[in-house]
């Protein structure tokens, strides 16, 4: 075949079709006008999410870049109830589509006022999330995540006492960092499949109870030596390293637990997998 014929044939054959993907930018915010409490529900199905404390004069702000083919932005505020719903919701026109890394990704940055008492309810799908709750007035936290990589951290102490933090994950990689700063009396983490890291660093101002459950996967505990820790272990086909603990049956306590100024009790359930312990100075 002559070269020009081949070239002409190649020129006639187009590249494989790729569906267009339209990304749009949306921002929403609300100035602070004397509100003292905000019940916030954040729904984000796919993409990248950042959440942190924001401007003291703003109740909340969300900057969003979203896939207009599949989602619509979500911004609802109910002044009577003092509640807000933020994030994205499906537009109902497209089915489930698995995104590859080469495609454009949704991106959201949410900031919340450090001046108001927050009850935070977060529902995440296939999301890579960096949630820094440090510096906020967090009274209650509930987080549910699907197939995600989620980092929840308290980089600074919570400025109010937190009743409970409940975190549930499916097939996910979850890290809870600086729980000592959370000031939560009860922390519950339930993991399905994947890996989880629970870091008890930070400043503990009171005793606390943690319920940790991991069905299949590895759970890493980062424990500070300055706090008395007792682990009540419930394991099946799982291992727990006892180094650094005094063992009494299924209970593992740090030396001097009874005399410790701050005590953290961990109810730990691990079904298939392992538990690793890292000691922090």
């Amino acid at each position: 075949m002559p070269r020009w014929t081949l070239a002409a044939a190649l020129a006639l054959v187009p590249a494989s079709p790729v569906a267009a993907q339209e990304m749009r930018d949306f921002t929403t915010s609300r100035q602070l006008h004397g509100e003292s409490r905000l019940d916030t529900r954040l729904e984000f199905a796919a993409g990248s999410l950042r959440l942190h404390a924001g401007n003291a004069k703003e109740l909340y702000r969300m900057r969003l870049s979203y896939d207009a083919e599949r989602f619509v932005p979500l911004s609802r505020f109910d002044p009577a109830a003092g509640s807000a719903r933020l994030g994205v919701e499906s537009n109902g026109r497209s089915g489930i589509r698995v995104s590859s890394r080469s495609q454009l990704r949704q991106d959201a940055t949410v900031t919340l006022s450090p001046e108001v008492t927050l009850a935070l309810d977060i529902e995440l799908g296939a999301v890579e999330a960096d949630i820094d709750l440090g510096g906020l007035r967090l009274a209650d936290l509930r987080l549910e995540t699907g197939a995600s990589r989620t980092l929840i951290r308290f980089s600074r102490p919570n400025t109010t006492r937190c009743g409970s933090a409940v975190i549930e994950s499916g097939a996910a990689e979850v890290a809870l960092v600086g729980l000592g700063n959370s000031r939560c009396q009860r922390i519950s983490f339930s993991g399905g499949v994947g890996t989880a890291t629970v870091d008890l660093g930070g400043t503990w101002t009171s005793d606390a109870t943690l319920d940790l459950s991991m069905t299949m996967g590895e759970l890493t505990l980062r424990l500070p030596k300055s706090v008395g820790i007792r682990v009540v272990m419930d394991k099946f086909l799982s291992s727990f390293p006892s180094a650094g603990f005094v063992r009494d049956g299924d209970t593992y306590s740090t030396p001097g637990y009874a005399r410790a100024a701050r005590k953290v009790e961990i109810q730990l359930s691990s079904t298939i997998g392992g538990v690793a312990v890292e000691w922090m100075p």
Partner: protein, 432 residues
């Protein structure tokens, strides 16, 4: 050329900076702090100009800026815009986009609840108090005074100056909300116009392009299968021939087996996974087992299909030889090539005539059906022959050790087989 363009851009920048430094007469200026405000405005203007020159500014707003005028109320059948609830900015954008598509002089809209709508730049002076919802299209809305209601702009920014008070929500569709110190009681929302498109959808293909593309696909599949077949013939010829013979001699049995195999693929996989999960040690093998199972299925289907092609090519070659046609030295490579060409013939026909209405669909349906039949038979033959190890269904009824000419010369003695006759091991031939 670029130098001239840059010079023009710089001169534009200087002129615009002069314009921004000149106090505006169309906007009511706030009382006090004029010097600082003017400097801030000048800086902002410069920044926006730089953004426009860099191509990052919102050029849509500049292009669509309209002569300031009131939008008259529409007739009874005209559009009625409800700006009292801005919680669905997408829906509002759709309504406003229809209005924006009209010539400026033809735009008519009624704002529900007694609000007002305007085209072009608009401002609320520091001494002004306005009640009701306001829509501004193709221009910026600058607020110095008080607005008791919602404010929406389309193709324009909302600028809230210090001292301004807006009791309701604000929404800038295809614009920005610039909070410069005023108070906004409600929600502050912006929706961009810029649609970042990853890759444009290609135009529809012509029939020639479609045919060429499909033909390229068929040739590609043919070459890929031929390469796999040649590898199989080179390194696993005996297995290939046994599977091929199984197809030839037990086609019906192979097809039924393949059908049953297809039905059982998923249940077997499920049983494998459950079995491994339930066993303590097996769960560690689960990832490997899943991969191996998938590979086995793929090898079974592809290898079986190649064996069918081999059988077809062999049958065709033997027929030609029987007719006395000289075909060179027949081999598994030749059988595979001719067989694959035959199996691809229907797909080539579809690639060539697939654009023909109805006929194209019929050819494609036939190609799919035939491919499935051959693949099923091939999978079944591979299963029956245990991937070419077992010859029970390959038509090789006489064992290989029986295929000897010993019976021509070895005369049985008293019913004792020749092989067991004393001194038989030393005999190597009739002459010995």
């Amino acid at each position: 050329m670029p130098t001239r363009k840059l010079a023009r851009a710089l001169s534009s920048l200087v002129l615009s900076s002069l314009v921004f430094l000149t106090p505006s007469t169309s906007v009511a200026a706030p009382s006090g702090g004029g010097g600082i405000s003017a400097a801030a405005e000048a800086a902002r203007g410069l920044w926006e100009k730089i953004q426009q020159l860099r191509g990052e500014g919102d050029t849509t707003r500049a292009r669509n800026s309209a002569r300031p005028q009131l939008i008259e109320a529409a007739g009874p059948d005209g559009p009625i815009l409800d700006l009292s609830n801005l919680s669905d900015p997408i829906a509002i954008e759709e309504q406003l986009a229809r209005l924006a598509a009209l010539p400026d002089d033809d735009v008519r809209a009624t704002i529900a609840g007694g609000g007002s709508a305007r085209l072009g730049a608009f401002s609320i002076g520091s001494e002004q108090r306005i009640s009701g919802n306001i829509l501004i299209m193709k221009g910026n809305a600058e607020v110095f005074g008080h607005l008791a209601g919602n404010l929406v702009t389309y193709d324009g920014d909302i600028i809230v100056h210090p001292g301004a008070v807006i009791s309701g929500d604000v929404l800038a569709v295809h614009g920005l909300v610039r909070e410069q110190g005023g108070e906004i009681g409600g929600e502050i929302q912006t929706l961009s116009a810029s649609a970042r498109t990853a890759r444009a959808a290609p135009p529809p293909l012509s029939s020639t392009q479609l045919t060429l593309r499909r033909l390229a696909g068929v040739v590609g599949v043919f070459l890929a299968l031929a390469a796999l077949g040649y590898g199989l013939a080179a390194f696993g010829r005996n297995n290939l021939q046994v599977v091929s013979d199984t197809v030839s001699h037990s086609f019906g049995r192979a097809f039924v087996t393949g059908l049953v195999g297809q039905i059982l693929i998923l249940p077997t996989f499920g049983m494998l996974v459950v079995g491994l999960v339930l066993s303590v040690a097996g769960i560690l093998l689960l990832p490997f087992a899943v991969v191996v199972y998938a590979l086995l299925v793929i090898v079974g289907v592809v290898g079986g299909y190649l064996a069918v092609a081999h059988a077809m090519g062999e049958a065709y070659t033997r027929k030609r030889l029987a007719q006395g046609v000289l075909l060179g030295s027949p081999s598994s490579y030749g059988f595979l090539f001719s067989g694959l060409a035959a199996t691809m013939a229907l797909w080539a026909a579809w690639a060539t005539f697939g654009w023909v209405p109805l006929a194209g669909d019929l050819i494609r349906g036939a190609a799919i059906l035939v491919t499935w039949l051959l693949g099923t038979a091939g999978l079944g033959a591979a299963m029956l022959s245990r991937a070419g190890v077992r010859e029970n269904f390959a038509g090789r009824i006489i064992p290989p050790e029986a295929l000897t000419d010993e019976y021509l010369w070895a005369t049985p003695q008293y019913g004792v087989p020749a092989a067991k006759r004393p001194g038989a091991s030393t005999r190597t031939g009739p002459g010995v």
